[in-house]
């Protein structure tokens, strides 16, 4: 079934009786060619592209809860291609280009909204660093503009310029950056994959791997054993937990990141804005809620909740940038498990176990990467070779010293 305005009108006259389930609810088969562990954005995108772009079939996505229940279901919805390093920027630019045609591609309105992303700059050296990054973005085919304080003021006239502890020297504007309705990404990929024959199996937790002679043969699940020619593990915050069942240790720590949404307001923030001295980012959803977040709580956690110090700190930055929003009320907060890697960059790689592939370490940048991550992981799973734009995302890069450290913080996951 194809979604369209015409269809909506037709169904409205027919009492909405014709709408079909967005995806089937199949029972697992005995074996598959491809088993994707993890029904989050990345897992569903992988399955979608495996079927659509690589013509693969006999694909299953195994999800321990409900699809989209991980970080694709709780994030601050931002998309951007504004990276500095060679290992990253071509990948994220590919991702942004995929976002730009995604809705027509999978026939689901995910409300991709390229409303612009502005990084505020607070010193001369930040301006220099932003210039280096902006140039890298442009050289990689992305877009960037360096704004003067006046340019910033034009976009955000109610930013407090007078009373800032850290004056605003300008901003780096990435016009093609923006936001996407996050849940819709999971649903759009799920529906698209399902229509191409992928079995999406919810409430199916992987409890073990069957590995013989260094080759993976299948997975044990809460719904029985499922054989597989190739297994792709893409479980974000649960990466260490799941891969531990294969005996692998990963250069990943799991951390909690909190995010916040305010009560609905008439439009006030035109785009995405970030603060430059300490973490803070904010945007406004189409529904009207301000969506904002900041730094990790900073300690290893699988608890999916955080504590007050970060809540208060994020609010303090928000109220400092926008004294006019000080009376706006925070409605809901949540915490997700971030798969923080040792250099702040992800992995899309084969593992030492034949047939077992790993995708993870997205830190808190996984959402924007969803399409490219799915495409590149599908490429790797189908062809056995890394995609050109993801070849730096190797698990062994720390042994060779090829870190991709955008923040320059070294092996300290909570600082990336």
């Amino acid at each position: 079934m194809r979604y369209s305005g015409f269809r909506v009108i037709k169904e409205a006259f027919g009492g909405h009786k014709g709408w079909k389930p967005a995806w089937r609810d199949p029972s697992p088969q005995k074996d598959y060619d491809f088993v994707i562990i993890g029904g989050g954005g990345h897992g569903l995108a992988t399955a979608y592209y495996l079927a659509k772009e690589f013509g693969e079939s006999r694909i299953a996505v195994l999800e321990k809860g409900w699809i989209g229940s991980g970080n694709v279901g709780r994030n601050t919805t931002m998309i951007r291609s504004n990276y500095l390093l060679d290992g990253n920027e071509p990948f994220y630019e590919m991702s942004l280009k995929l976002w730009e045609g995604l809705e027509q591609d999978f026939n689901f309105n995910a409300m991709v909204s390229q409303r612009g992303l502005l990084n505020l700059l607070h010193s001369d050296s930040q301006v220099d660093a932003a210039r280096r990054r902006g140039n890298a973005m442009i050289l990689n085919g992305s877009d960037a503009e360096l704004l003067t304080p006046e340019g910033v003021r034009k976009l955000y006239p109610f930013l407090d310029f007078e009373n800032q502890r850290f004056p605003i020297y300008g901003g780096l504007l990435h016009r093609r950056g923006g936001t996407v309705r996050h849940d819709a990404v999971a649903w759009g990929y799920a529906r698209g994959a399902d229509q191409r024959g992928v079995d999406i199996i919810q409430n199916c937790e992987v409890t073990g791997f069957k590995i013989e002679n260094g080759k993976v043969l299948g997975v044990e699940t809460s719904r029985g054993y499922i054989g597989a020619r190739k297994v792709g593990c893409v479980v974000a915050g649960s990466s260490s937990r799941v891969m531990q069942m294969t005996g692998m240790r990963l250069p990943i720590e799991s951390h909690v990141l909190q995010a916040f949404v305010s009560e609905g307001l008439k439009p006030v923030l035109p785009g995405v804005i970030t603060f430059g001295v300490g973490h803070f980012y904010a945007t406004q959803s189409d529904k009207g809620g301000l969506v904002f977040g900041g730094d990790l709580d900073g300690y290893n956690s699988y608890a999916q909740r955080g504590n007050l110090p970060i809540v208060e700190h994020v609010a303090a930055i928000g109220a400092s940038l926008f004294p006019a929003l000080s009376r706006v009320r925070m409605l809901r907060s949540w915490g997700g498990i971030m798969d923080m890697s040792m250099d702040g960059s992800p992995f899309i790689d084969r593992t030492p176990i034949d047939g077992l592939y790993f995708n993870g370490g997205w830190c808190y940048g996984g959402f924007k990467a969803t399409p490219a991550s799915g495409m590149c992981f599908a490429h790797l799973l189908s062809t056995g070779r890394p995609h050109a734009n993801a070849q730096a995302y190797r698990l062994d890069r720390f042994m060779s010293g090829r870190m991709i450290d955008e923040a320059g913080q070294g092996a300290q996951p909570n600082l990336h």
């Binding site: 649960s238 260490s240 937990r241 240790r249 990963l250 250069p251 990943i252 720590e253 799991s254 900073g298 300690y299 290893n300 956690s301 699988y302 608890a303 504590n307 110090p309 040792m342 720390f398 042994m399 092996a411 300290q412 996951p413 909570n414």
Partner: protein
């Protein structure tokens, strides 16, 4: 969170900085024939359990002690707090 400092009693975790897995106390021997591999594993492959975790905290806004805190990463419950120096002292250290 509240960390029960062995010398100073209960303190808000906001007074501390977090480093990570307490295995960072076990720095390899630089003379080892496979020192490179061992340092790689030491620095990059840390414990990341969903459950009890021994980890290093630094009392930055306090007495500047490094602590080894045993904390459950699923519940945040803290079951043990030791001075890291005491833990390190117990190890067989090479000069």
């Amino acid at each position: 969170m509240i960390i029960n400092h062995p010398l100073l009693g209960p303190r808000d975790s906001q007074e501390f900085s977090y480093l990570g897995d307490a295995s960072l106390l076990d720095r390899p021997d630089w003379h080892d024939v496979s020192a490179l591999q061992k340092f790689h594993d030491y620095l990059y492959l840390r414990d990341n359990p969903a459950g009890e975790h021994r980890e290093l905290w630094y009392h930055e806004a306090g007495d500047r002690s490094w602590l080894v805190v045993t904390r459950n990463t699923l519940t945040h419950e803290i079951s043990k707090v030791e001075l890291a120096q005491d833990v390190a002292d117990r190890k067989d250290h090479k000069k």
